[in-house]
């Protein structure tokens, strides 16, 4: 379970998250939608632990553990996974080397033995076949020269290997064509379990046709302003965010 409690965050003196509260239960897929500049990406970065954000107050509890008190790598080892809007290119680091370093770092943190190379290779093979990732991509430097779709698939592959307790997808649909969107969504859907929750951040309803959420939240002005079921996404697709932008200016 992920609980965000009264989170107040600013960047360079500008308040972005405003007493933000959100709970995502075990196995729940929650979507956050909202117009540009309402703090959706900030929320995902703050939870994952990126620097440059000033957290004034609040808590982010993952199964009761306050993530804000530890470094980003520890948050990952505690079971948090952030799929990036724009996964980074890491020149010179082979994809396989990176994956192995990540899996074993998390195992080490949890006091588990490192995976042997054959075991690891087997695991990667199964997961990458599912996502249609070719084996030659695994030998190349991580994300270097990959298309937008390949990068997103690589992120989902990482999630499959790391088996997190909770996944945040930050505008995973951006830069994806329809086929890639389908493959990535199927990858995510296959990782849905009774325990594992997801937070799906998106501008568009389209992604939610593929990854069907249990709840939809509308975010504006750094907080959740409306919550509903999956039908809320369809409503937003028709009416747009104008109503919420007005609400924000009225509140201000």
């Amino acid at each position: 379970m992920l609980e965000v409690k009264n989170l107040n965050v600013s960047v360079a003196g500008r308040k972005i998250l405003n007493d933000f509260c959100l709970t995502v239960k075990d196995g729940e897929v929650a979507a956050i939608m909202g117009p540009n500049g309402t703090g959706k990406s900030t929320l995902s970065y703050v939870i994952a632990g990126k620097k440059d954000y000033e957290v004034h107050s609040g808590e982010v509890l993952l199964n009761g553990f306050n993530l804000l008190e530890v470094e980003p790598d520890v948050r990952a080892s505690k079971g948090l996974f952030l799929a990036f809007q724009y996964p980074l290119e890491i020149p010179g680091v082979a994809t396989m080397t990176f994956l192995k370093a990540a899996v074993n770092a998390q195992r080490k943190h949890r006091g588990e033995a490192e995976l042997s190379t054959p075991d690891f290779m087997k695991k990667v093979k199964v997961a990458s076949d599912k996502l249609g990732i070719k084996s030659d991509m695994m030998k190349r430097a991580l994300n270097v020269g990959f298309s937008g779709g390949e990068k997103k698939r690589m992120d989902i592959l990482q999630m499959a290997l790391l088996e997190p307790a909770f996944g945040i997808l930050d505008e995973t649909d951006s830069g994806l064509d329809i086929d890639a969107l389908r493959i990535v969504s199927e990858g995510v859907n296959s990782l849905r379990t009774e325990k594992r929750g997801f937070l799906v951040i998106t501008h568009y309803q389209r992604l939610l046709d593929y990854i069907v959420p249990d709840t939809v939240h509308v975010m504006s002005g750094g907080k959740i302003v409306r919550t509903g079921g999956k039908e809320l996404a369809l409503e937003l697709e028709k009416s747009g965010y104008a109503e919420y932008a007005t609400a924000e200016s009225a509140a201000a």
């Binding site: 632990g49 790598d73 948050r75 990952a76 996964p87 980074l88 890491i90 010179g92 680091v93 990540a102």
Partner: protein
């Protein structure tokens, strides 16, 4: 009226003059070599030890750094050779061992057919007219005072000739060792002559904890014949505190030749590596790469001059530096394209990662182009590691220090990965990883 400046000799310069005076009667060579030495030493005397007002030595002021001239190393003793025999062991094959600049056949291996090995001393004693231009480095670097000093003082070295058409699959290892307990100076010059269509790889490395202490004035000259394919690596990684290593590397390429060189510099001594390269024939390809890993107050200078004379040659000069603590890195590179060298494709790039605010990196890339149909470029960058990349790796569970190491290793090892010998890639990757492991521990 003009003021006359009479430079006074430093203690080190006086010491070097005394050393030359004492040694010259015993140094190998016939009358022509004696003349070559005399001319070289007077050229050195005229300029003295290079200092910051000599442009190509601006960042490595040897006159200030080298306070004294150390005594010239004696020929290795029998007991020193026996001790080294144990230390060298049997790990390396096809090795040629130089102890304090002197070729020691007893410690060296027999090389396969197609390769002839002689000591420089014996070649100098013969002083054959056709060898003199080769030993003189085909005129490359002759204006440099340290190249001149090396020419005057060259005690010994090894002369390797690879017969035309010979294909030597395994690397030939030039192994440098020391047989003296106290710091000394040594002056060696080696020559590799590769015949037409031959292929060979030559690897330079040192043995021993701390390698050579003292002052090393080394030179390695490659004459690469037409259509030959030559590889070279240099591991300059075990220099000791207080040591000075001045290594000159001279290469001349014939027509349609291929040359690939990789060097790793990491150690506590002062290093100045100067590379003089000439694309003499047409349609040759030459790649020179170097990685310097520096920490503490280490200082490493790579100064390169690549001259394109032949047409349609491809030159790639690529250098990377990782600078930690208070280290100083220097890269000076000049590509010169002669009037007739049309269709030259020359690219030079120096990149430095600066890990603290206390490090210094001096980059000076230059192009001098006298032909009108060429594609030449150079670039130099200095920067830190990308925090975004580190965060991405942390977000996957990799701790900050490990993420940093992975990125540093990738940055340095990328240039080693291009070595055409898989086993050598492994050797250098391991050396880079060992350097990084020490960094993490510290």
């Amino acid at each position: 009226m003009s003021a006359q400046i009479i430079p006074s000799k430093t203690q080190a310069e006086t010491g070097l003059a005394d050393a030359y005076g004492a040694a010259k009667a015993k140094l190998p060579g016939n009358a022509e070599i004696v003349k070559l030495r005399e001319d070289a030493f007077s050229a050195f005397t005229e300029s003295g030890l290079p200092h910051r007002r000599i442009e190509s030595w601006h960042y490595t002021d040897l006159r200030t750094i080298m306070r004294e001239a150390l005594p010239v190393a004696p020929a290795p003793s029998a007991s020193a050779i026996e001790a080294l025999r144990k230390e060298i062991g049997t790990g390396l094959t096809q090795k040629l061992v130089l102890v304090d600049g002197v070729f020691v056949p007893e410690l060296s291996d027999t090389l396969p057919a197609g390769v002839t090995v002689r000591s420089l001393a014996s070649v100098l004693a013969e002083g054959k007219a056709d060898f003199i231009p080769l030993i003189s480095g085909m005129g490359l670097g002759s204006a440099d005072p340290i190249v001149a000093l090396n020419a005057a003082m060259m005690q010994d070295g090894v002369v390797i000739e690879v017969a035309p058409g010979a294909a030597i699959a395994d690397p030939i290892n030039l192994l440098y060792a020391t047989g003296t307990a106290t710091p000394t100076a040594c002056f060696s010059r080696s020559l590799v002559v590769v015949g037409q269509g031959a292929s060979v790889t030559v690897c330079e490395s040192s043995i021993g904890e701390g390698s050579r202490t003292g002052q090393t004035f080394g030179a390695l000259i490659f004459s690469v014949g037409d259509e030959a394919n030559v590889g070279h690596t240099l591991s300059l990684t075990k220099t000791a505190v207080g040591s000075v290593r001045l290594e000159t590397f001279i290469v001349e390429l014939g027509t349609k030749a291929k040359f690939d060189s990789f060097a790793l510099i990491a150690g506590s001594g002062l290093v100045r590596r100067q590379i003089f390269m000439r694309f003499a024939g047409d349609e040759s390809e030459g790649a020179v790469r170097g990685v310097s890993l520096l920490r503490g107050k280490e200082h490493a200078d790579t100064t390169l001059f690549a001259e394109h004379v032949g047409k349609s040659c491809i030159g790639r000069e690529t250098f990377r530096y990782i600078l930690d603590d208070e280290a100083t890195g220097i890269f000076q590179g000049k590509i010169r394209v002669a009037p007739g060298a049309q269709q030259t494709d020359g690219k030079m790039l120096s990149r430095a990662l600066l890990l603290t605010d206390m490090v210094a990196m001096n980059n000076k890339p230059e192009l001098e182009i006298f032909a009108d149909d060429v594609a030449c470029g150079h670039g130099a960058t200095c920067g830190g590691l990308s925090e975004d990349q580190i965060f991405y790796m942390q977000a996957r569970g990799i701790p900050y220090a490990d993420a940093e190491s992975l990125l540093l290793e990738a940055f340095a090892a990328e240039l080693a990965d291009d070595i055409p010998h898989e086993s050598l890639v492994e050797v250098f990757r391991a050396e880079i990883a060992a350097w990084l492991a020490l960094r993490v521990k510290a």
